[in-house]
């Protein structure tokens, strides 16, 4: 009995369980699949993000591989109105699994759980363009 239980737990951990047990319906992502495989990411995503956040915040390394920004961009789930849902919604990519396993995440108390809008990203792309800055200022004053 113990062995059976262990086996089932292992299955659950490896992400095979939910498929059998009618687990979370994980939304499809856009972009390239993780080279390490989904299984690896399911087990280690928090370690990767935790490690790289220190590299970026404290050491100023902007070339890190894993960032929450990229997670929420590729894994964005759109609502019926075509807009990406936030962590408030139980359709949010992170919540689908985290609700299922009852693990609370604090990331989105500070981080945005939705992808950055394209226009915002564009404004920051070219720092030197005065036209962009003028538009930017105009928007800021509105």
């Amino acid at each position: 009995m113990k062995r059976v239980l262990l086996f089932v737990t292992a299955l659950l951990w490896l992400g095979i369980g939910p498929a059998i047990a009618g687990g979370p319906d994980i939304p499809k992502a856009t972009g390239e699949p993780h080279p390490e495989g989904n299984l690896y990411m399911r087990i280690n995503h928090m370690k990767l993000m935790s490690h790289d956040r220190d590299e970026t915040v404290r050491d100023g390394d902007r070339s890190v591989e894993y960032s929450l920004k990229e997670c929420v961009t590729c894994h964005a789930v759109n609502a019926a109105d075509g807009q990406p849902v936030s962590y408030e919604s139980d359709k949010h990519f992170c919540r689908v699994c985290h609700d299922y396993v009852a693990v609370k995440v604090d990331c989105f108390q500070c981080h945005n759980s939705k992808p950055e809008m394209k226009s915002q990203a564009l404004i920051r792309e070219d720092h030197a363009d005065p036209n962009q800055i003028a538009t930017y200022l105009k928007e800021a004053q509105e």
């Binding site: 945005n112 800055i133 930017y136």
Partner: protein, 251 residues
């Protein structure tokens, strides 16, 4: 007024082995399989905060217009902080202050923000090392470690830091901020790391006032270093000897 000598530049002899190691070889990492990591040393220099640099600002108070707050609105827009209807406690990463010399009646205005001190009191007092100074002199709050005790706010002689009292949503991806943590000017670290300059400086230039110069204080050829070498400038509260990265002229 007592003008301390500016000596930000490091001679080659002062460049420690640690500095050299940091600015030198990059480390490439590849994950081959779960638990197996391939690390390769060398190649291009790592894109990290460079200890060979010291980012700073020079603010010309004479050029700063009294009725202009372009720097403040640009900062707010860039970093996503705004009024929440609580003027006593709302975050202010940068503010305009109006001053009057009682002796002469001269009235002027200038921006105040984190002064990015070399010997930052906020870093000294932080019990969790959340408040820290990067290798290139930018003083930041690591909100992953901040417990919201606000010691740093008490320690800062410039009232540069704010505590977030209200829940925040729709943050900028490059400037995460949330209730229960302290925050302040980051010198637009996300722009600086990609070769840009802070939003306030760009905004000031767009208005035509050009009161703010951003640059590397350790590079004697940079615009800011030349200006500092040629004209008198002061660090606020220089009696505290904090060696700020932000300095003012015509004050």
């Amino acid at each position: 007024m007592n003008l301390p000598a500016l000596n930000f530049a490091k001679t080659p002899a002062e460049m420690s082995r640690r500095d050299l190691l940091k600015s030198g070889g990059a480390v490439a990492t590849a994950v081959l399989a779960p638990g197996v990591t391939l690390m390769a040393f060398g190649g291009e220099a790592a894109a990290k905060a460079d200890p060979g640099k010291r980012w700073g600002l020079l603010i010309d108070v004479n050029k700063c217009a009294k009725d202009c707050s372009a720097c403040v609105s640009a900062c707010s827009k860039e970093n996503g902080w705004q009024d929440t209807g609580h003027p006593d406690t709302d975050a202010q990463w940068i503010r305009k202050i109006d001053l009057k010399d009682k002796e002469t009646g001269r009235e002027f205005s200038m921006p105040m923000m984190c002064q990015h001190c070399e010997d930052a009191p906020c870093v000294d007092v932080c019990p969790t090392t959340a408040s820290f100074k990067r290798e290139d002199g930018i003083v930041l709050v690591d909100k992953h470690r901040c417990i919201g005790c606000r010691y740093c706010m008490m320690a800062c002689p410039f009232k540069a830091r704010s505590f977030v009292h209200e829940p925040v949503t729709d943050q900028k991806a490059h400037a995460p901020r949330g209730k229960g943590t302290v925050e302040s000017c980051t010198l637009c670290v996300h722009r600086v790391d990609t070769g840009g300059s802070p939003a306030c400086v760009e905004a000031c230039n767009v208005t035509g006032h050009g009161a703010m110069i951003f640059g590397d204080l350790k590079d004697p050829e940079s615009e800011i270093s030349k200006a500092l070498a040629n004209y008198p400038s002061i660090a606020l509260r220089d009696d505290l000897n904090l060696k700020q990265g932000v300095r003012y002229t015509s004050l």
